[in-house]
């Protein structure tokens, strides 16, 4: 199984402000193999420091192109952000598993926190485009810190689905946490007809997972961990799991998408 694409070209790079960067890459073969939930592992330099690749969820994959959307938070992402159109990058992918789509008659509820948005965007987009799901049946709850992060949500908005935004400071959307929006959605809802998909900071995922498990809602969470190898060999990315033999699961290969009751966050 091929996973190493040592020379993928950068098609386009956009700065969305607030340290948010969107990059699209051209690789017909890789683009065709990517599924919502998958991630790629990118070599940010050919030098030995930073040594490890950086993991990025796929934001969309279309024809010959695929995109990532990330925030500059340290040296690795700083280097990634410097990539120019035409540059060549060494990528491993597709890595990790993918989301289980909702069954007929089930509504998808996405719960996104900050830069946890890309895999949920990819999922929503592919449900609409490939699975013929009516956009209006998809609920997309999106938590951001403030107005400056609003551009994160633009691609979601253009999917024409039911988008609800919360911000920590109330500068855009509802003031408060995205988990409050979820709690509200779950009230009076027929939870047997819902499926929740979530990605974001772990404290947020913990609340989402607990809420869904308590209410008996089917829920998948996508986790982000430090990932040295990304292919299951270093055992560095494990999460505690009550359902696994040795108490752990590797996020890079058994995840990053898990059933909410499979992992202890």
């Amino acid at each position: 199984m091929k996973i190493h694409y040592p020379s993928v070209s950068v098609e386009r790079r956009d700065s969305l402000g607030n340290g948010l960067i969107k990059i699209s890459f051209r690789s017909p073969e890789l683009a065709a193999r990517l599924r919502p939930g998958n991630f790629i592992h990118i070599r940010v330099t050919q030098q030995l420091d930073p040594l490890f690749r950086r993991a990025m969820s796929v934001h969309s994959a279309d024809g010959e192109l695929f995109t990532i959307l990330f925030r500059i938070v340290g040296r690795g992402t700083e280097l990634l952000a410097l990539l120019k159109e035409g540059a060549r990058v060494d990528i491993l992918g597709p890595l990790g598993n993918s989301f289980n789509p909702p069954r007929d008659g089930e509504t998808a509820v996405m719960v996104s926190g900050g830069t946890g948005l890309p895999p949920l965007h990819f999922l929503a987009r592919s449900l609409i485009r490939d699975n013929g799901v009516d956009p209006e049946t998809i609920r997309f709850l999106c938590g951001i810190s403030s107005l400056g992060d609003l551009p994160l949500t633009f691609d979601v908005k253009s999917l024409g689905l039911d988008l609800l935004i919360s911000s920590d400071d109330g500068s855009v959307g509802v003031r408060g946490l995205v988990t409050d929006l979820l709690a509200h959605k779950l009230q009076n809802a027929d939870v047997s007809k819902m499926r929740v998909y979530s990605c974001g900071p772990e404290p947020m995922l913990r609340v989402v997972a607990n809420m869904c498990v308590a209410r008996g809602v089917r829920c998948q969470v996508s986790l982000e961990r430090h990932m040295p190898c990304g292919v299951g060999t270093c055992l560095g990315c494990v999460v505690q799991s009550p359902t696994s033999d040795d108490g752990f699961r590797r996020v890079c290969i058994e995840g990053p998408v898990f059933e909410a009751n499979e992992v202890r966050l």
Binding site: H4, L48, H226, V231, T233, L235, G236
Partner: protein, 305 residues
């Protein structure tokens, strides 16, 4: 290009080239079978196998550092029984030399695992990870004194039907004297180095970055230390040395051979590029051709001082 001989021999075992994978960085081999042709490699070393299964330490278990990483995986492995029933059948099918790494927390544990592996087909050598604390006794690592390293090697030599590689720790005052003790006890080869003890601290929370507080440092950052260890040990013993520590490409391989190693292991590099070992095999051939050399074995110990 043709006519270049990459083969080396260690304790009567022939390796098609001097490039092996390091314990704990290559799983049980099967994890990489999807990505690379394992028959291109000189050999593979499994992760450390212990008497009982070990789940490993609580996360976070790894942390990136300048030019390297810290790990405190905690010798997570399936235990020798499941290793024999579930992993050996695959390893046996491989067209490369399989070396099983053995670890334990008492002399008895090492002995028992070694004895159980005696009945397995498909193993070429054992590598003994002696960087483990002797829990029932003084609690010091077997690797930390010449006496304890001698005693362990001597005991396992009596049991094992396979040639033994003793894997040395750099966290000692004089690695060469420990190497000598292992040779005196009958070790067939030595591999070095294991990781260096290190730690990383988050200055905003005052917390260590690893749950285990300290971990083992590996990667390019440790290469100079490893090269010096190989040279010192080469000057002291006659048995073959397998060099380990920060090796990323064919040039690093050449440097370790020049320092005195007969073969090398790639560890952390596998995490950066799953196919780094295979690329280095090709690269080594090109390097030798460029140096007008026809045999990789001719590099061994050729340091000019």
């Amino acid at each position: 290009m043709s006519g270049i001989d990459l083969s080396v021999e260690i304790a009567g075992v022939r390796f098609r080239n001097p490039i092996l994978t390091a314990s704990g960085t290559f799983g049980y081999g099967e994890e990489f079978n999807d990505y690379i042709d394992l028959s291109m490699l000189g050999g593979i070393v499994t992760k450390s196998i212990t008497r009982q299964p070990r789940p490993g330490h609580k996360p976070p278990r790894t942390c990136e550092t300048t030019g390297g990483m810290l790990n405190a995986i905690g010798l997570a492995n399936v235990g020798v029984e499941r290793f024999i029933s579930e992993k050996i059948p695959f390893l046996k099918s491989l067209d490369t030399n399989v070396i099983v790494n053995v670890a334990g927390f008492s002399l008895d544990e090492y002995s028992e695992v070694t004895r159980m592996l005696n009945d397995c087909e498909g193993i070429k050598m054992l590598e003994i990870n002696i960087s483990c604390p002797n829990v029932g006794a003084d609690g010091l690592e077997f690797s930390s004194t010449a006496q304890s390293a001698f005693k362990l090697t001597d005991e396992l030599k009596r049991i094992s039907r396979f040639p033994l590689i003793i894997k040395l720790s750099p966290n000692v005052t004089d690695i060469a004297s420990i190497a000598k003790a292992c040779e005196d006890a009958g070790a067939d080869a030595l591999s070095l180095i294991n990781t260096l003890v290190g730690m990383a601290i988050d200055h905003t929370t005052f917390k260590p970055r690893l749950t285990n507080v300290t971990g083992g440092l590996s990667g390019p950052a440790i290469k100079p230390v490893a090269l010096a260890c190989v040279m010192k040990v080469y000057r002291r013993v006659r048995i073959p040395i397998i060099g380990i520590g920060g090796i990323m490409d064919q040039f690093d391989v050449a440097q370790f051979l020049i320092a005195g190693a007969t073969a090398v292991q790639f560890g952390t590099a596998n995490f950066v590029d799953p196919d780094c070992t295979v690329s280095a095999v090709d690269g080594l051939r090109d390097y030798l051709a460029g140096m007008n050399m026809s045999k990789v074995a001719d590099l061994v110990g050729k340091l000019q001082v």
